[in-house]
């Protein structure tokens, strides 16, 4: 997933769309808005980002799972949790440097699934579909001709906590 921080206005449509699409329990969210202001007046630089699970290339939440509930899916390397295998030990939550997971009131660990049920049908994730500024782009990072790769080739970009060594699969255009 590629997100353009120059066009994101932080309206939180993506957050609400995700909560509605995925029946996210009240008080929780799988995606959220981060606003980062850097510098000092008058040269202040502000970045608004829609954040969620980074579906990392090296996901620390997967090897720590004692039951195999937390796994990398065959579909595009999406990181998922099998609810009926999860014992709620919370190892994956402490293993994630992005704090992207939480415990669902029913007892299992939950997080962004990239709306895998929609992706399976060839539709974009809910957050991408509703974005009023079209700042989010979903596609195949392995395909050099995909829209996401074209954007990455033409623009400067960064990922979150690169130094944590997880190789995030969400990239932010700056």
């Amino acid at each position: 997933m590629v997100i353009d921080t120059n066009t994101c206005v932080g309206c939180m449509d993506c957050v609400v769309a995700c909560q509605t699409e995925n029946n996210v329990p009240e008080g929780f969210c799988r995606d959220w808005i981060t606003t980062e202001a850097k510098g000092s007046f008058p040269t202040i630089d502000m970045e608004i980002r829609s954040e969620r699970c980074n579906h990392c290339e090296i996901p620390p939440c997967v090897p720590c799972c004692p039951t195999g509930a937390s796994h990398v899916s065959d579909i595009g390397g999406i990181v998922l949790v099998e609810h009926n295998k999860c014992i709620g030990c919370k190892a994956c939550i402490t293993a994630c440097p992005y704090d992207a997971r939480y415990i669902h009131p029913d007892g299992y660990a939950e997080k962004c699934t990239f709306c895998v049920h929609r992706v399976n049908e060839g539709i974009d994730p809910a957050c991408v579909s509703v974005c009023p500024t079209k700042c989010m782009h979903f596609g195949d990072l392995d395909d050099p001709n995909s829209e996401v790769n074209k954007l990455l080739n033409s623009r400067k970009h960064h990922s979150l906590l690169r130094e944590a060594g997880t190789k995030p699969n969400i990239l932010y255009l700056t």
């Binding site: 620390p60 799972c65 039951t67 999860c86 014992i87 030990c89 190892a91 402490t94 704090d99 939480y102």
Partner: protein, 309 residues
Amino acid sequence: MNEITITRNNELIDPLLHVWSWEIPVYLFLGGLVAGMMIIAGYFLYTGRNKKSKSSSSFIPFVSFALLSLGMIALFLDLENKLYVWRLYTTFEITSPMSWGSWILLLIYPILIVGMIIGLPDKYIEKYSFLRSIRTFFVTKTSRVKALGMLYILFGVMLGMYTGVLLSSMGARPLWSTSILWVLFLSSGISGGAALVHMITKDKYESDLLLKADNIFLSIELVVIIMMLVSLVSTSEVHMNAAMLLISGEYAIRFWVLVVGLGILVPLIIQILTVNNIVKHIVIAPIMVILGGLALRFIIVAAGQLSHW
């Protein structure tokens, strides 16, 4: 200026991670204590001290069984999806320290039960022939008791190690992300175990031996703590910030006073004076060692969750 605002407010995650409460430190403490006691019992079994009627190797399996079970209850209470606990035993995930731990715990029980049968008073053994045959199988050959002793030491070390590896495998929490953490937990477990056995054993030789040994274990623990802090401070900025939580930050007073001061230094001084017959033996020192071990687990688990990238 670098100001970050996040709209997320997930329970137990925000504003600061606090998913592991009292259950995990209590379990890590009891697991460490049992690990220490198993190593001690293993040594006594290996050296043939089980032949002495008062040897602590006869009661350690009972105490270990009780404490480990209490620890496992705490672990179970921490699970959010308790009905699915059996899922731990339908798989073995080689990369997950928690999976290793759940299987180690399962294997420890039969070893403890064999030790309990060997340590049971004769009047109980005589009532049940199968207990007698198990005891006879081991006791009649020294090599078998020695092998059992080795198993006690092996599983004690594995239990003590894994409790540290469990946390240190979490790269996302810089305070835990140091490979020396298992040495700290193991040395703390052995010093706590030695203190507990020293307190309750009626065998004078073993009690004196464990008091002397405990001074060595406490000294090692102190060195390991210093090494851990040095290694964290010299790794990266996030690791340094994590170490600062203990050195001068939010957990500093509790860490220096409860863990280092009252948990290691004061009992170490008292015990050194006792060993050298300068002061009379007082039971407060081993109690301080044990409580210091508990404080260590609470502080490491809480401060570790506070540390972040």
